[in-house]
Amino acid sequence: MAGLDKVVTTYDQALAGLADGMTIIAGGFGLCGIPEGLIAQIKKMGVRDLTVVSNNCGVDGFGLGILLEGRQIKKMISSYVGENALFEQQLLSGELEVELTPQGTLAEKIRAGGAGIPAFFTATGYGTPIGEGKEVREFHGRQYILEESITGDFAIVKGWKADRFGNVIYRHTARNFNPLAATAGKITVVEVEEIVEPGELDMDNIHTPGIYVDRVIQGTFEKRIERRTVRQEA
């Protein structure tokens, strides 16, 4: 790793500096587009008291769910959780705290965080428990609540391909929160299926420009499917 070359070759290097009590922003929607090797490395490192910002928290035994096994997560900021029994158990016992956040607000909090915007007004959640205690302001006759943005000590991202300079493209709906997370980490680590040379990706079609990316590692992915649903051939 020198100059603009962001490639690292070991997971120890990929997450060097990650420590207890840090905030991690993770890309992914359900099990789709999750940085599997980076999550495994967090488990291996055994860091604790983490705040994890992710739309979901995986399932039992896969995805972010594996970090629950060693009680590494202190707090989740998510829009939808509880696909795993362990999560439910730790939530009910008070070991785990959850800040439920509407999905669009969560996405915008991360986007805004990466874009240097500390807070924004949204109509989402006004008049609901989500709006309680938040500043309300009227614009054009409608009520909006103030939501603060989110940044992380680390962002862990799953890309399809990256070049050595950290330009990233994503594939299909595995994009989801990944490009947003990539902008909002003090240290952004992208795990990809393939690393290519600068110039090989079409510069008109880069989803995450390399400026946001600190480290790139090539991984291998199981890509487990949460709800395999098929139709019969006609």
Binding site: S79, L100, G104, A107, A123, G125, T128, H172, N176, H207
Partner: protein
């Protein structure tokens, strides 16, 4: 009483050619099966897909291609893919023409409760709060009453809200009801269901016009 499929069929009549539509989980998903022939509609899936197609065949299954319910899906020709912030810009910005979602309760003020039952484990609101806050044209699908016969069309929602003052159309197993001026308005009834039966199961104030046509299927 309407079946789940008939509720979806009735909702499908709200579709118009050229619409961009977001369908929630459950009965709303079934609406995709009743898009009228010859009508072009693009389905938005809030995880970042505009132009959702049918479920894949065994050969087409791709773990990178899922819908908001985390099911494997396909994309139609002309589809587009984007990140979650872009997806909710479409939703919050009012660019989606029709949103269909389920609910536990609605009330005469157009409030909706659909995500949280106190005392039960709360899994989260997902995108529902953004959807109801952003859409002009929302259809709620639900059963008119609980299994115990308690009305779900109320003077005031009892459960924590998903959105305030945002619902104008409700299709239940008994009726099509509109919400305006702080009242429910009975517009259509399910085949074989009397106005009295509907009125009995509607706890919020219900306006009944002289003629309430039966839905036809």
């Amino acid at each position: 009483m309407l079946t789940r499929e008939q509720i979806a069929m009735r909702v499908a009549r709200e579709l118009r050619d050229g619409y961009y539509v977001n369908l929630g989980i459950g009965i709303p998903t079934l609406v995709a099966n009743y898009i009228p022939k010859g009508m072009q509609v693009m389905l938005q899936s809030e995880n970042g897909l505009l132009g959702m197609g049918p479920f894949p065949t065994e050969d087409e299954v791709d773990p990178d291609m899922i819908n908001a319910g985390k099911q494997t899906v396909t994309a139609v020709t002309g589809a587009s893919i984007f990140d979650s912030a872009q997806s909710f810009a479409m939703i919050r910005g009012g660019h989606v023409d029709l949103t269909v979602l389920g609910a536990f309760e609605v009330d005469v003020m157009g409030n909706i409760a659909s995500w949280m039952i106190p005392g039960k484990l709360v899994k989260g609101m997902g995108g529902a709060m953004d959807l109801v806050a952003g859409a002009e044209n929302i259809v709620v699908t639900m059963t008119h009453a609980s299994k115990d016969g308690e009305s779900k069309l109320l003077p005031q929602c009892t459960l924590p809200l998903t959105g305030a003052g945002c619902i104008k159309k409700v299709v239940t197993d008994l009726a099509y009801v509109e919400i305006r001026d702080g009242k429910f308005w009975l517009i259509e009834r399910a085949p074989g269901v009397s106005v009295d039966a509907i009125a009995k199961l509607t706890a919020g104030e219900l306006v009944v016009p002289e003629i309430v046509p039966e839905m036809e299927f």
